[in-house]
Symmetry: D2
Amino acid sequence: MDCQKIIDRVYAEVKAGENLGQVAAYIPELSKIDPDRFGICLTSIDGRQYRAGDAEEPFSIQSIAKVLSLSLAFACIGEPIWKRVDVEPSGTAFNSLLQLESENGIPRNPLINAGAIVVCDILCGYFREPKKELINFIRRAANQPDIDYAADIAASEKSTGYRNFALINYLKSFGNIHNDIDQVIDLYFNLCSIKMNCVELSHTFLFLANNGVQLESGETLLDSSRTKRINAIMQTCGFYDEAGEFAYRVGLPGKSGVGGGITAILPNEYAIAVWSPRLNKKGNSYRGMKFLERFTTETESSIF
Amino acid sequence: MDCQKIIDRVYAEVKAGENLGQVAAYIPELSKIDPDRFGICLTSIDGRQYRAGDAEEPFSIQSIAKVLSLSLAFACIGEPIWKRVDVEPSGTAFNSLLQLESENGIPRNPLINAGAIVVCDILCGYFREPKKELINFIRRAANQPDIDYAADIAASEKSTGYRNFALINYLKSFGNIHNDIDQVIDLYFNLCSIKMNCVELSHTFLFLANNGVQLESGETLLDSSRTKRINAIMQTCGFYDEAGEFAYRVGLPGKSGVGGGITAILPNEYAIAVWSPRLNKKGNSYRGMKFLERFTTETESSIF
Amino acid sequence: MDCQKIIDRVYAEVKAGENLGQVAAYIPELSKIDPDRFGICLTSIDGRQYRAGDAEEPFSIQSIAKVLSLSLAFACIGEPIWKRVDVEPSGTAFNSLLQLESENGIPRNPLINAGAIVVCDILCGYFREPKKELINFIRRAANQPDIDYAADIAASEKSTGYRNFALINYLKSFGNIHNDIDQVIDLYFNLCSIKMNCVELSHTFLFLANNGVQLESGETLLDSSRTKRINAIMQTCGFYDEAGEFAYRVGLPGKSGVGGGITAILPNEYAIAVWSPRLNKKGNSYRGMKFLERFTTETESSIF
Amino acid sequence: MDCQKIIDRVYAEVKAGENLGQVAAYIPELSKIDPDRFGICLTSIDGRQYRAGDAEEPFSIQSIAKVLSLSLAFACIGEPIWKRVDVEPSGTAFNSLLQLESENGIPRNPLINAGAIVVCDILCGYFREPKKELINFIRRAANQPDIDYAADIAASEKSTGYRNFALINYLKSFGNIHNDIDQVIDLYFNLCSIKMNCVELSHTFLFLANNGVQLESGETLLDSSRTKRINAIMQTCGFYDEAGEFAYRVGLPGKSGVGGGITAILPNEYAIAVWSPRLNKKGNSYRGMKFLERFTTETESSIF
């Protein structure tokens, strides 16, 4: 099969169809994006890249970055991480706080906000300079020393992030934040601020399709067994309340962000990144979901 | 690798370890089982079988059968099935009824009780003789004309199944049961009453590892694309509130039952059935989970 | 003050205002009512009656009758009743089933459906002929031997009462129904079927304003201390999710029904019944609430 | 009846009985209290006072003070207060955050923490010096210019009050906090820090039994109609998840605090304050509840 041809065709089909949903509007940096931007990049484990549309336009990857902080924390402390956060899907969104309450401050999984905040706390406890270590890890995964936090986005998130302040204080009331609230939340908002384009994003996630090994450097970012486990968590928890739908329609482990990005991987084959800012009702990219469903159907890519 | 040797070794290790948890006690047919029975059978898509322990001892497969009724209903009516039931994991068990309420009588997925009851209603609406058609489908998957409902278990379930009567009436109040309540619940209780041994069970589920094709007959029970989707649903919804844990530790799509059975499949490779009656706190076989975790680690079987 | 004049004036004012909300539509016997019927009767403990509008038009009192079955059960078995049902307000409606689940089948209070079903079960366990005893009790309270169950309404409720069948099965699954489900639910549906007019209804509830003593016969239906406790329960639990609003605006213990009736009492003074079929969003009579708020303000009737 | 004799006898009886439950332990100022302190004072609207035990020992009134801030806010802005906070009982404690979520940041009532924080925000928006105005209002009610905030308790609450920080941030995320978070939470923590003894506390609440009029000064702190409404809110919402139980057993509007204080009023008769630090499982004073139940039974004090 000619991967580029399929990508081009599916890209054209989806672009020709309607573009529904809303762009995330809670901070200006997201709301002012052109809602019709649409980019794709697939990076295969033999290093080839296939692009379409706005593949080189940087965007805010938002929650997609939570997989990277999780990978680093898991590499650092291993299994004890699961004493602080669970690995179960979260069910309906509106239960998030109820679940924290009934489960004594242990977040359902590390890819919802509460869980990602706990992961940031773990990094703050492990490293003397967690902010620096985290971005270094991401740069090594991306093989790109320029990747950086976007200070303006982080500040914007912070100025309106009352719900995340509520979460971290609530977690602290259960004793599940060990470090200073201000330091932890600063790391969290910075994590969510990172910008990449589709080329960089698919490249960054390639190690998860490659048994934890970074392609160019050959560095093992995460051992093979833990890599599979991160993929399993993406599969069950990566899409808010649409994890089942994504498994059903796309059949690959992945993670989405409110910036309209989605990344997914096919183990031992490729990582793919798609970006289109309009979000469906569940908060995932409308065109991103459409593209991945058709692309995986055509290529018969599925872990199932 | 020598599959039989690995099975034998892991079986021996798990058998030598402790056997914790409780046997399901709500009906006599389950509670009077010897809690130390322990059987395994793996059937590969080339037809070989590897057994250990009580592999030929029949047991009540209970909820595992829900995958089979779902497969039949999906084969019959296709995508419209998802208007009646969703494909999302259910989150914490205690929310089941709350979720039905807040989601207007649409069960979270077809593998929880509420969803399986709706699937039975679909079969009652589609077939003139749903009970006969369902068992025939299962016999064809099993390549075993003797498989049958266990009338005594069905009767026992019915006499104490107040929660399921509550569910079906509740579903009906939302208009999501179209047929006579008594007929639908009878089909449901019969479905849950089926007995198989591990050899039969792994054989029955083999079509899901084989793109929907029954091995001996070559019959396509479900087309390839739909087969992948059933596997995706097992992955995200097959283990009550332990779906994430199973994905994390075992890494295969599967389904468990309160009788202590678990079945799992590795696409294009094999189906495996494990049975040990003691259940962990989440309601899944204690030794079954242990065996599958170690077996998949040793064989590096994982979809991730 | 001239009670009749105030009633006439407030009646006229409320009738002149708009009549919003919906008539309950789940059974034909309720949906076909003229939505503009509007009746009032106040009976004082010295036996005088003040009427307005359709005070002599019978209507389905529905849940208002739950106070009467509760009074009888409380008179029969006393404090042990609270082992089976609690006395707390239920909070938001959508929690009803969740609460049953988290509180192990003990309904929040005896005036929600689940609680009233448990009360019916208590009566079924106490009396050989509970249906006869219950209507006799109500006839004695009403001093009216003609009051009876409305077989057609009971049958209609039964044919569509899936949610109540769900509740009773759910309660049974927790062991909180001791008698035959069919007998208990039959008593419950009959209880809800009773028809009275405002004159009869205010007269029937007068004993709760009169320390438990029926006015004409002098019979003590409930002792003085228990009467106060029934009034306390009406105060905190009598208006679904609007109990606080009713306490705030009206300031009297009372109970409403989906037929559009509301009854309320001022201890040692009077019982009042209002009927107007259109219901506000919380399920209480739109005009009934308006009338009682203005009437109690003008007469400065309030327990606070 | 001789009120002092009854108080003395019931006091002695309750003191002779067991003293169960736990002292609130989340801040040292509460945990280090002698758990056997037990004081009572009843102040009647003719100005007489009846005391028993440690009636003159000051204690932290905690949440009882929420009635006072509510009274002031209600006096200031009237009915529009209910656009910001509802008047319904909160149901089970564990729902508090779920309810805020499902009800868009409108707290269930002004006597739970979330509601009291919104009331503090209202005071911050109304007054230039809210902290000063609030304590002045309380001093006028108490006819006691010495009443003051306890800076050490407020600081202690603040240093561990993560759950309240979570709440205020969560409320802010819904737009239901209009002023600076730090200012509002400071007022809230100060409000909860106030210390009084039973004599002062019963005196302070007397205006609620006296149609809003302060006894000595004759000042109308709240008009008669609004006073009744505050009493109605205490009745339905004053005892966390035990509001129904208190209405059932005691039959008076009241409010409790985790410091072990309870105050209750009988309209047009008296205000009573009881203090005993051990709390029952629902968070209300074990002996306080016992005393009030027996005292109101003996004196036949009940609004019902």
